[in-house]
Symmetry: C2
Subunit: 341 residues, 2 copies
């Protein structure tokens, strides 16, 4: 019953050595003979010794843990990003504590504190839609915990971020729609307090302007971009006196649901009656017919870049600027949903 875990003291007892020698032996310190190290390692593996990371972390003040906050784990972009993060930090001997905010401010705050309580050595975060106050994030910085944002970042928090050029990508999408002959281009936007949706909106506007089209604010529908919002949005557009001939959605989720809604009774054709484009290149976009034009944004690559940068900051190798912006390339993926036959 008294089945405690094996500690360095147990090894020490077996070898009539002091626990400090065991510790040094296991950490390959030059202060211990090769012969002793050998003996220690042998006994350690015989006893099935495994270090207690809580003890090590407490003593060394390094938890070997990094915290990740994302809105939704199960969104393809974020789970890919986490996958990328995990691959990078795993190699460096770190592990990852994952929290999801459900796009909710209060949960994001409590996640942030939970990560701090665990004394994570760094944080990777993509902020929630609801987040408009950022004290919890600045506090993390103030505690000297490096934080790197990816995809969604808060204004005014001085930190590095890994992003894509949302403005440019949205510009390209819009320009592509224009090049296909569309003139009345609608837009589904997300909450403008988030950089990504603001930038995508701005890119859309700029493209229209550069091609001498006037942006019609009645054709811009703002929502939280959940699947149902796509349906609500397309219903709204269909109720307009002058129908748009194209639609650029700020994410794939709404593009897909809007497109399915349009196609469901066969009376409406995509792209002939309305061209559609989305954003993120999530798996379903290549499966829907016609394929959904979208922007490829590799979650995995973004996650990897953010993790690498964070580890560099943890190590104090911040050679590049403190608030560096790392931009990952995107690619416009043109598929049938936007192409005039």
């Amino acid at each position: 019953m008294k089945k405690g875990q094996i500690t360095i003291h147990d090894i020490a007892r077996h070898l009539s050595l002091d626990s400090s020698t065991i510790s040094r032996a296991l950490n390959d310190s030059p202060r211990v003979t090769a012969k002793t190290k050998e003996k220690v390692r042998k006994v350690a593996s015989e006893l099935g010794y495994r270090p207690n990371l809580m003890a090590t972390g407490l003593r060394t003040q390094r938890s070997k843990t990094i915290g990740v906050i994302v809105p939704w784990i199960s969104r393809h972009f974020f789970s890919s990003a986490i996958s990328g993060i995990e691959q990078v930090v795993y190699k460096e001997g770190y592990h990852v504590i994952i929290c999801q905010s459900h796009d909710n401010y209060k949960r994001e705050v409590s996640n942030t504190f939970a990560l701090f309580d665990n004394r994570v050595e760094g944080v990777l975060a993509s902020v929630a839609m609801d987040t408009t106050k950022f004290d919890h994030l600045t506090q993390i910085k103030d505690e000297n915990i490096p934080i790197v944002f990816f995809d969604r970042y808060p204004p005014g928090v001085s930190a590095c971020r890994v992003v894509i050029d949302d403005f440019k990508a949205a510009y390209q999408v819009t320009e592509h729609l224009i090049s296909q002959g569309h003139r009345r281009i609608a837009h589904f936007s997300g909450p403008r307090n988030l950089n990504i949706y603001r930038d995508r909106f701005d890119g859309y506007k700029k493209a229209l302007k550069d091609h001498n089209l006037v942006m019609d604010p009645t054709m811009v529908f703002e929502s939280r971009l959940l699947p149902d919002d796509g349906i609500e949005g397309i219903k709204y557009l269909l109720s307009l006196p002058d129908l748009p001939d194209a639609l650029f959605c700020s994410n794939d989720l709404t593009a897909l649901s809007a497109m399915q809604y349009l196609q469901k009774d066969g009376s409406f054709s995509v792209p002939d009656d309305m061209a559609i484009a989305g954003f993120s290149n999530s798996p379903s976009t290549s499966i829907i017919k016609p394929g959904l034009t979208t922007v490829d944004q590799s979650g995995e690559e973004i996650g990897k870049a953010a993790a690498k940068r964070l580890i560099a900051e943890i190590r104090g190798e911040t050679d590049r600027g403190m608030n560096e912006v790392i931009t990952i390339d995107t690619q416009l993926i043109v598929r049938g949903s936007s192409c005039r036959k």
Copy 2:
């Protein structure tokens, strides 16, 4: 620079009290006056005190952490399961360390040790395709760390598991295909060392048998069920002298890629030339045209059930049997891909 974290000792100094009193005050012990508790809480929040979970964990031997091992975070089923897990454990004051095995045995082993090193209080695992030895998992059990498997479980490890009835679900799918008039039903199977693929295969065979159809082993294609395997599988089937008239795939990934391959030049019609069914009800199955018949298997529900059960075991509330099998309901989702017009 010397910006150490705030500890209970700092609070103690501020109030000329002992740190033990602070600890008891913050833990609402009856041994401290209400008045003192009030003062302690006030100073604690003024100083921005946050408990160090490594210290607490070391002392109490309870890390408030549970470990999760999945093959791939970014697979919809698993990210949904993680989402469910996270929701449950979060409420109980636990957090989650996530590892992915990439369906690789060695990584799964090293993940397992990493979780042990962190002294997780419990483990939720879905084993890798490559895993045929299970010592690492039995060791965890032997260390008295509760482990609950979900979806994929190893044979011979005595532990609770949360699963679906793969046999029954596969039987239903096959029977449905038969009811649609299909007689030559092919099957894409996964590695048979995994319960889920073995059971799905068995359910398929039993349904055929019960309907007086003979299973033709040349129509069973075994692979690791990645998208490319679906293409390879369908090419193989197309090369057979007698084409199958239906195909039941052990996962959606291969069903989708096979279906897209068949449809790509328009010469082949699904379901008329070949009916197809998949397994898992991943998002794309409702987007492809025709919709893919599949089995709904709620990752979130499975994750929640597994997490609840694990927490019960951690708490020692194992009223139900030690090796209980919790079966989550599935639902056959019939869509166009399998229905005779």
